[in-house]
């Protein structure tokens, strides 16, 4: 019995994670088949990379909201940081590093690391707060980043980089200078390096890292803080360290989503729709609908809610009506007792599980 229950613990997490990876693999193969047979509309093709971006955003936000248990409304802010940092790098290095196989991975790492750095800097003061207060401060952070990007001008000439918050003329550059970041006009000429394969690999890496963190010693510490902060402290867990760890990892992957985003469009600007409050809330909707703390749910919700509005474009008059109905039905049914039972039955089918374990699952 002792041996058995110990094994089943390992098995259970491995099995549920296995289903998640399998799901991703099947999705990838299906997409590859459709691409090979050329039976995909341009609309769907255009949605592949955004869907991956939103999966990464949802899964990484789930680490903060579901695993750490803190409501963050500034996730798009980190995406914005990652997008601009990597785009800036790619534009500068476009002529220096011509191979996209070298440049793009570097851009991804730079985007992620800069976002993680912002997560660290923002996290130190912000994570002292809890609940609504944390939500408000992260919301403000997201807006500040977006607005900052709208007034930032960066130019490059033979003397090096020039920064300004006023305008291009204020940069005071030599004649050979080139303006890279043009305030509200953003960054233009980012190489379009984001492909579905790269985006998919990044999705797998994100899911892999987040799932493994959850099942590790560090993940248990993070979840114990969520469940009972005072008890976690009493058994010697450094609250600040693990809160910050979860927040920084979450910001890192949001930054990577930003890299994919910026390398998928020609002109990168910071607007309310892409990096503002709207985006943060949309990602939060994915997380809540997929189930807080449920990584696989986040993936499914992100895909459905990215593809659905586009598919409904033909019925443009009723589009938002159907969208809202779907949201309501998902909320009602995804966690209703009947549905939960049904899912449990599905996952236990063909397995001789004891009743006790059924109650646990």
């Amino acid at each position: 019995m002792k041996q058995g229950s110990r094994l089943s613990n390992m098995k259970k997490s491995t099995k549920t994670n296995g289903i998640t990876y399998l799901m991703l693999l099947v999705a990838f193969i299906v997409v590859q088949i459709f691409t090979a047979t050329d039976s995909m509309t341009n609309l769907i093709k255009g949605l592949l990379v955004p869907a991956c971006i939103y999966i990464i955003m949802a899964v990484s936000l789930n680490l903060t909201v579901g695993i750490l248990g803190e409501l963050s409304l500034g996730h798009a802010g980190f995406m914005c940081v990652g997008a601009f940092a990597s785009s800036f790098f790619s534009v500068c290095m476009r002529d220096v590093i011509t191979s996209e196989w070298v440049r793009f991975p570097l851009a991804i790492i730079i985007g992620g690391v800069v976002a993680a750095l912002f997560g660290f800097i923002v996290g130190i003061p912000v994570l002292r707060l809890r609940g609504d207060y944390l939500a408000i401060v992260t919301l403000a952070f997201g807006e500040i980043i977006k607005n900052l990007m709208n007034v930032l001008y960066v130019g490059l000439d033979s003397n090096g980089f020039h920064f300004s918050m006023k305008g291009t003329t204020d940069l005071g550059m030599e004649a050979d200078g080139k303006v890279i970041v043009k305030g509200a006009l953003g960054i233009t000429g980012t190489p379009r390096d984001s492909t579905f394969v790269v985006a998919f690999i990044l999705v797998v890496i994100t899911v892999f890292v987040v799932l493994n963190v959850v099942n590790s010693r560090q993940g248990r510490a993070i979840m114990s803080i969520r469940d009972n902060r005072i008890a976690a402290e009493s058994i010697g867990i450094n609250i600040t360290k693990y809160k910050l760890m979860a927040f920084v990892v979450s910001a890192f992957f949001a930054g990577i989503a930003g890299v994919l985003y910026s390398h998928n469009i020609a002109t990168l600007t910071a607007t309310t729709n892409n990096f503002g409050y709207n985006m943060s809330i949309m990602v939060l909707v994915y997380v809540v609908l997929g189930g807080i703390g449920n990584i696989r749910g986040s993936i499914i919700a992100a895909v459905i809610l990215t593809v659905l509005p586009e598919l409904l474009r033909e019925f443009s008059d009723y589009r938002m009506l159907v969208y809202s109905l779907v949201l309501i039905f998902m909320m009602l049914f995804s966690s209703s007792p009947a549905m939960v039972n049904f899912r449990e039955k599905l996952s236990l089918k063909g397995k001789n599980k004891s009743k006790k374990e059924k109650g646990v699952a």
């Binding site: 229950s5 590790s216 560090q218 979840m223 005072i230 402290e233 009493s234 058994i235 867990i237 006790k356």
Partner: protein
């Protein structure tokens, strides 16, 4: 040298002297009781000893090292573990994971090892599983290892909290009303468990309790607290006969 030595410990909240000039001396391997009427300041003493509150004055030393005024997590690392009056478990984690969280500082591996699932991860996790299951067996919880902590019955939740505290490998265990809400049978069983822990883990235990049967049954020495001040301390049977103590508890 005494394992725990508390001298002149006080905390004032504004004008309220919640604990005033508290003193205590516990030898190694002793079972010590802290009793007193409601609002006497017993839990406040626990909170002072575990760093939840910083004392206004005075100090507490564990094995000669000052523990009062330190951070809660650091106090735990120095060897003080506690349970809570109102149970505080990690409700959404399994029973096994609750104990494994307690092992956090005992078995370590880096975050990178965890993320990449390097061989060290499996080795250390298996080690943790083994240690945690051993502890759960002591408390007869090993058959419920995969149950969520919130689904355990009340008595078992109390036991799990003690198991989690023991997982941190403490020198001193603080139990805050371990028998609260238990029926006489469960209390009897708990008394046996506490004695067993003391003997098996060579533990020193300080407990707060209202159940006089439990206190007189297992505590070798007790301290009585009233209005934040020590009313009497010494051998259990002697102290319980003290007329002042009887008055404090039962009234004139």
């Amino acid at each position: 040298m005494a394992l725990l030595e508390v001298k002149d410990l006080s905390i004032h909240f504004g004008g309220l002297k919640a604990v005033d000039s508290f003193y205590l001396k516990i030898e190694k391997n002793q079972l010590y009781g802290l009793i007193g009427p409601n609002g006497a300041g017993k839990t406040t003493v626990f909170n002072l000893l575990t760093g939840v509150y910083k004392p206004t004055s005075g100090e507490a030393r564990l094995d000669g090292k000052i523990i009062s005024g330190k951070k809660t997590a650091d106090v735990n690392k120095m060897g003080v573990a506690r349970t809570f009056q109102n149970i505080r478990l990690f409700n959404n984690l399994s029973v096994l994971d609750n104990v494994k969280t307690g092992l956090h500082n005992q078995t370590r591996y880096s975050m990178l090892t965890g993320i990449l699932k390097l061989p060290g991860y499996f080795k250390k996790e298996a080690e943790m599983d083994k240690k945690a299951m051993e502890l759960l067996e002591v408390f007869d919880l090993h058959n419920e290892a995969q149950t969520l902590a919130c689904n355990l019955p009340y008595g078992k939740q109390r036991k799990l909290e003690i198991a989690r505290a023991l997982a941190t490998n403490p020198k001193l265990l603080l139990l805050d009303e371990p028998a609260a809400g238990m029926n006489p049978n469960e209390t009897q069983e708990l008394m046996d468990t506490i004695r067993f822990i003391r003997d098996k883990f060579d533990m020193t235990i300080l407990l707060i309790e209202h159940d006089m049967r439990l206190v007189s049954g297992i505590c070798e020495e007790i301290t009585v607290l009233n209005f934040g001040q020590v009313l009497a301390s010494g051998e259990t049977s002697e102290v319980l006969k003290n007329p002042e103590v009887v008055t404090a508890y039962l009234g004139e």
